[in-house]
């Protein structure tokens, strides 16, 4: 029982990262119809930025948790204005080429300056140690990540469901063309939403720094699973991306724990789940077929 609870907790922590990254991808895809292959690179920049701020300027974790998401959101908005918005009327192949190319550039810029080795980032002292849950202990930092990610997801959910801006974003994400026909300047919301999605990736990166190896390829390793999460949840579905994020975190943790005798299955379980979901529901668990304007 203790082992199951620990695995479940670990799965939820992994799921928290997937949820934050998938949430950003979902809002970006929903509003721009652009699949942002550079999302993993921004996650890496979040972690690396926190590392550089700490080692070169002495900026602590808590400040990095604010500075990096905001800084990356601004960078994302600048990139959207300069490049991304040109993709919306083009073949999706250009979307892939630009955002994948951006990934390679960002990764190589970091590699040029800091090399490819992993850099350690110390857990903030207030979050070191562990929490006693009775049946098992769990690292305080991981408990913090889970609580923080859930709070962010709930906050985003509240903003999306209880505010006028959230209503416009939901409508624009679901049917951008139709929303324009109802007098709403969807384009005005595109840049801030792109920046918001990138900011969430940066936030996940800062949270990852103390518990994952900080290196230029850390985003590339994770993003493949995050894309599977987004597809399972339903491309563009905000709720689906969060639910699938936590769900896949759990499936992966349980698979690694209980299917270790079948490494082929345990290592590919995310993609097996994706294939089954797509066969059952081609638009994903919470996705819908594209509707016309």
């Amino acid at each position: 029982m203790t082992g199951f609870l620990q695995n479940t907790f670990n799965g939820l922590v992994s799921g928290a990262f997937y949820a934050l990254l998938a949430l950003g991808l979902a809002v970006i895809f929903g509003m721009l119809r652009v699949v942002n292959f550079a999302h993993g690179a921004f996650y890496m920049l979040g972690a690396f930025g926190a590392y550089v701020l700490l080692t070169e300027a002495g900026v602590p974790f808590w400040a990095a948790l604010v500075i990096m998401p905001l800084g990356l959101a601004l960078l994302g908005m600048a990139l959207e204005r300069a490049f991304i918005h040109r993709l919306t009327r083009l073949d999706p192949l250009y979307n892939f080429l630009l955002t994948f190319g951006l990934t390679l550039i960002l990764q190589d810029l970091v590699k040029l300056r800091y090399g490819v080795q992993s850099s350690p980032y110390e857990t903030p002292s207030a979050l070191s140690g562990s929490v006693d849950f009775g049946l098992f202990d769990f690292p305080t930092y991981r408990v913090f990540i889970l609580g923080f990610a859930v709070a962010v997801c709930v906050g985003v959910w509240w903003a999306l469901t209880r505010t006028r801006v959230g209503m416009v974003v939901r409508a624009s994400t679901e049917r951008p063309e139709l929303t324009r026909a109802f007098g709403i300047n969807v384009g005005r919301w595109v840049t801030p939403v792109f920046g918001f999605g990138i900011g969430l990736a940066g936030l996940a990166g800062v949270l990852a720094a103390p518990m994952r190896a900080v290196n230029p390829l850390m985003g590339a390793d994770l993003i493949i699973v995050v894309f599977a999460v987004v597809v399972i949840g339903g491309l563009g579905s905000i709720f689906g991306s969060v639910a699938a994020g936590f769900g896949i975190g759990l499936v992966q943790a349980w698979g690694e724990a209980y299917l270790s005798a079948f490494p082929i299955v345990s290592q590919t379980i995310v993609f097996i789940v994706m294939a089954v979901v797509l066969l059952w529901r081609p638009a994903g668990l919470f996705g819908r077929e594209e509707a016309p304007a």
């Binding site: 209503m167 416009v168 939901r170 409508a171 994400t173 679901e174 049917r175 063309e177 139709l178 929303t179 324009r180 026909a181 109802f182 007098g183 709403i184 300047n185 969807v186 905000i238 819908r288 509707a291 016309p292 304007a293």
Partner: protein, 230 residues
């Protein structure tokens, strides 16, 4: 109110509209009839600014709106009622109604909408796509009336509805007309069209083939139904 001149439209290489010209005066209800694929919905999309490949003039109140994006046209008073009803699954019924800004001098209040459509009031907190087809059609019409749109662009609002609901859609359009709202309506149901409209255009192979009044449509109903393949 609405004047279209030499409007041509394409889907890729295929030309769908060929130098269409028509006029809808303020307060009129005018229908576009034609076979499937004649270009009726494309014409409405061109007026709304939702179709990319087009050439020609679209004037609203004497102002050329052909270069304006869809959201600016809506703010000038165009109300879009798409053929799929345009319900948002992620928005409640109330949110579907309050999403568009008010754009005209006489927008319906939410209370007035709910008074006129008690079924929508009862389902006000449900996702709009959970409504029946008829309720979603009422929602689509109520939404543009709440906007205060002055010119409604309605794409087959009676398609798939029961006779009782068709009658309700007709009552609603007549009520809107009474309050000075103008309507350009794509419609295959000739009986319905003659009951609500003042004039009719027959669109054939992307061109305006004929302009007819109600008496002409009624006298040629059998011939027209046969032509439309109904």
């Amino acid at each position: 109110m609405l004047r279209i001149e030499n409007l041509s439209a394409w889907y890729g290489e295929a030309q769908v509209l060929r130098e269409v010209g028509l006029e809808v005066k303020a307060g009129e209800v005018v229908t576009l009839v034609g076979r499937n694929g004649a270009g009726k919905s494309t014409l409405l999309r061109c007026v709304m600014g939702l179709h990319g490949g087009q050439r020609g003039t679209v004037e609203l109140d004497g102002k050329d709106v052909g270069k304006l994006p869809a959201y600016k046209r809506a703010r000038l008073g165009l109300g879009w009622v798409p053929d799929d009803r345009g319900s948002y699954a992620t928005l409640t019924v109330t949110e579907n109604l309050t999403l568009p800004p008010t754009v005209g001098p006489d927008p319906w209040s939410l209370e007035r909408v709910y008074e006129a459509f008690p079924a929508l009031y009862e389902r006000r907190d449900s996702a709009a796509t959970m409504l029946s087809g008829g309720e979603q059609q009422m929602l689509a019409l109520a939404r543009v009336l709440r906007m205060g749109a002055r010119l409604l662009l309605c794409d087959e609002p009676t398609e798939g509805l029961s006779p009782l609901l068709v009658q309700q859609v007709g009552d609603l359009l007549r009520e809107a007309k009474k309050h000075g709202v103008t309507v350009l309506l794509v419609e295959q149901n000739l009986h319905f069209a003659t009951g609500v409209a003042d004039r009719h255009y027959l669109l054939a192979e992307g061109r305006i083939a004929e302009a007819m009044d109600n008496s002409e449509v009624r006298s040629r109903e059998r011939e027209l139904l046969s032509y439309l393949g109904i």
